[in-house]
Each structure stands twice: as structure tokens, then as C-alpha cells.
Subunit: 243 residues, 2 copies
DNA sequence: GATGTAGACAAGTATAAGACAAGTGTTTTT
DNA sequence: AAAAACACTTGTCTTATACTTGTCTACATC
């Protein structure tokens, strides 16, 4: 069987990209260099590279060079995104079902976090393609949420409804056995493991505006964290021992 | 692989900012000084500095100079630290107890991640103030770990032993019910919830060097993640649905 | 006709070296 | 004390060279 040279070269290059010899953010050897390395003409090298470009593995800029294409997720995902947004990214149909919508006096933990006595508490189920995958409870200072209706929170994410520029958030991730009430809502056996997340969202001035608690069934969800750089300094993100 | 000079310089400067060689509030060396230090033209130095400015790390004022931008959240986010380091920070005495130290042929999942057939598998318990708080299994390509002894991994963290500059990591956080074997090691009831973390650590070239699996009892541990809002260059972390 | 080599040219980029304007901080002069 | 002078900085231009990809043409081989 005759071997097609440019396919052969494409295979080799594909391997190098996969193996990490060619890294995103750096430039591949120039066509001329590859040409002499593979002892093939520039046209052949180009054909190989172009097939890799069609596959989305690499890309090129005239006058600059060829480089490993950045993973699309990295570019499109924001920093502080809602779970719904991420689901939409991956083509899953997100839905919300409001279970509770009430202005209540804040329990101590919520009052400490939001620095507000009266709060709006919204409890809802998040559905992915019709199946429940999270029970979410959101607390919001009453003065910020007083213009909201049950319909509002069913339609849009809280982040949009408040109309406030958000400054950042602190998220705590833990595990637990599911509470009986949540087990029924999520459709999982009582006592099965869940991921519990508590997120405190602040505006640009650092004032806390939202406290939310997310309960995910363990079998359907996991967190992915990219840690970009090794560094000697101490980080606030990481594992923490609790009492 | 071809290198673009200004990217190289940007990397070096980024490192100096991260390492604290260039401190917030102080001015950086002038473009002219950097130019002679790196033996590169001022244009190249500027391009490097400008990419750092785009990342929000540094800023400049005409006639004054370049300085490290005061963005505390951004600088400290998502860095790669060992759990022991964080424990030492909080004044807890960390200990390691090695349970298993063996060179084995890699199971498929490990082989896929590390791209290596023979691996060193180390299983250990981490203790905080004498109490177990984590069961950790580390896989490492055999060629990287062949000079290591059981004593080595008991004394020092893997990161130090390998003597490799680390480039980053991807961490997956999930929840599960504890396996019977781990339950005994951790001293928790069978079936109680645990946090499961899988971390794939890579070197600066993007080559995977360590795969580690951490199992934490839920009642003692939780993750804290700071999500700054404005960071453009930091890779996103988020929730992912799994099958 | 598909595949390959060899070459030429245009357009874009990286880098060097330099010039000049404009802003900042310090020092000297008035 | 105010003003001027000076030495420094970044910001923004040129000019030139070397190198890169993008796009051709011409020709050989199977």
C-alpha cells in the first residue's frame, strides 16, 4: 500500500501536538524548518498542516507562524459564570423550577454573610434536559430583591435580575450525605453523596449581594478547576480543614 | 520549537511578578534597563510588558514607569499548592504515612493520563495533628520516579522530589461514598460521604508528570475557591456534568 | 489526475535601532 | 517660594532587515 507523504507527516505532527511537544501559546517550527526536518517540500508540509488546521488542532497567522489552537472552552468561558451558562455552552437545555419564593428574616449564618436582616429566599430545582441535577437556595438582601417576582426568578438568572455589576465570589465546595427533602427533589436515594457548594457573590465594591447554596448529586456532577501556574506564594483557594 | 522573544520575556517577567521580585507599589526597571538586561530592543520589551498589562498584572504611567498593578484577588487565585503547605500555613502539623510503594504497570485510566506504561504508585495517608484526613494515591511515570525511595516520599512532597518545574494542573472535584478500604484508613463509617479529587499535574512543557487521587472525609474538609470577576487570563473553573 | 518538488513573489510579523513628543520627579537657579 | 533646567520615564512614530505564511506557476513522477 502506497503511503501518502503528507498524511504521514500530518500523523506525526498530530502526535506531537497530542504529546504536548507542541504547546498552546508557543509557535511551531516554521514550514521551512519542518520541510528540512522531514525532508519534504514546503507544499507537502503545508498540506499536512492544513489538514491539522481543518481538524481545529492548529492554526496559523501570516507572518507569524503556526501554533497549537487554544482549546475553545478556555476562550469562551467567563470567569464568574452561572451553571446554566455553562450548560448552555455544552448544549444542554437548562430549566428552573421554583419551589419557594419568600421574604424572610435572615438566619444567623445568612445574616453574617449578607449583613442584612431581611432577605429574599428562593429555593429552586435546576433541570438539565428535564432531569433534576441541582437544588439551589439563594438568599438576597430584601432591599435588593424587593422588585423581583416569582416569575422573574423562574425566567432569568439572579445575576441578570439584580442589575448590579458583580465583583467576584468566594465559593466553598464540600461533600455530604443528601438531606431527605433534597433527596426527594433530586430523585436520588436517601443518604447518597452530594456535592455542596456555597457561593458568596459580591459587587464591585466588595459588598455581598448573594448567598447561594447548591446541592448536586455526586453521580452527575463534578468540578473542574484549572490551576494555571505553579507559584511559591500561598493561595487562598484550596483545601481547607473544617471543624 | 521556535520561540517568540517577547513571549519568552513576558513569561520571565510574569514569573518575577508572581515570585514577588517585583512588588506592588514599586516601579519596575525601566524599559531601557530591561532592554539591556534581556539584550532585546525596547520594542520587544514593550510588547512583553504590554501583554502583561493586558493580563492586568502590571500598568504604566507615562514619565513615571511600569509598576505591578494592585490586584490582590487576581494574583492569588488558583495557584498550585500542596495541601501540606496550606496546613502548615494554618499551624497544623502535617504527617505522611506510606501504605504502598510499588512500580506497577499502569491501568488504562492512568496510562491515558500520564501517557506512560510503567508507573510508580504510592498510596499514603495524610495526617493532621495525628488524625487521618486524606487517603492519597499518586501515580508517576516510572522513568521519573525510578530514583525515589519509600523514605523519600515519606519525607518530602512529590513536587519537590521530582525536581521538575511544574506548569499547571487540572483538578477534578467530586463527591462519593467512601470505599470500604478507605473508610478503615480514614476511620470513618462505611458509606459516609467523601470528597474525591483527581489532579493531573503537568510540567512547563505541558507534559503530564503526576496523577493523584485524593479522598477526603466530608466532615473534615472543604474546598474554597476565589472567583475574581475581571481576570481575563486566568483559566476558568466550573462545574461539569458527567455521565 | 493525484501527489510530489522547486521556486518566486506578495503580504504580514518580529525585532533592532533610532528619533522625537510628552509626562514626571529632582535639582538648580532666580 | 516660584520658575527654570535637567535627567529621567513612557508613548509614538519612523526605517530597515530578516523571517514567516499565503498564493501562485512550472515541472516531475506514479
Amino acid at each position: 500500500m502506497r503511503t501518502i507523504r503528507y498524511q504521514q507527516i500530518a500523523d506525526e505532527l498530530r502526535g506531537r501536538v497530542a504529546a504536548g511537544s507542541y504547546v498552546a501559546g508557543r509557535v511551531l517550527p516554521s514550514e521551512a524548518e519542518l520541510s528540512s526536518e522531514f525532508d519534504a517540500s514546503r507544499v507537502t508540509i503545508r498540506r499536512a498542516l492544513e489538514t491539522l488546521r481543518d481538524e481545529g488542532l492548529v492554526d496559523a497567522r501570516q507572518g507569524f507562524g503556526w501554533f497549537v489552537a487554544a482549546a475553545p472552552l478556555r476562550q469562551t468561558l467567563g470567569q464568574l459564570v452561572t451553571i446554566e451558562g455553562q450548560m448552555a455552552e455544552s448544549g444542554v437545555e437548562p430549566q428552573r423550577k421554583i419551589i419557594e419564593f419568600a421574604f424572610v428574616s435572615a438566619p444567623s449564618r445568612v445574616r453574617a454573610a449578607l449583613r442584612s436582616d431581611n432577605v429574599l429566599r428562593v429555593k429552586r430545582i435546576n433541570l438539565a434536559d428535564g432531569e433534576p441535577f441541582a437544588v439551589v437556595t439563594v438568599w438576597c438582601p430584601a432591599e435588593l430583591g424587593q422588585h423581583l417576582s416569582r416569575r422573574d426568578v423562574e425566567r432569568s438568572p439572579f445575576y441578570e435580575l439584580l442589575g448590579i455589576a458583580l465583583g467576584g465570589a468566594t465559593q466553598t465546595i464540600g461533600a455530604d450525605s443528601v438531606a431527605p427533602a433534597d433527596a426527594a427533589l433530586l430523585g436520588v436515594p436517601v443518604g447518597s453523596p452530594v456535592l455542596c457548594c456555597e457561593r458568596l457573590t459580591k459587587d464591585t465594591n466588595g459588598r455581598p449581594v448573594l448567598l447561594s447554596e447548591h446541592v448536586f448529586p455526586a453521580h452527575r456532577t463534578e468540578f473542574v478547576v484549572d490551576l494555571p501556574h505553579a507559584a511559591a506564594s500561598v493561595a487562598p483557594s484550596g483545601l481547607r480543614l473544617v471543624e
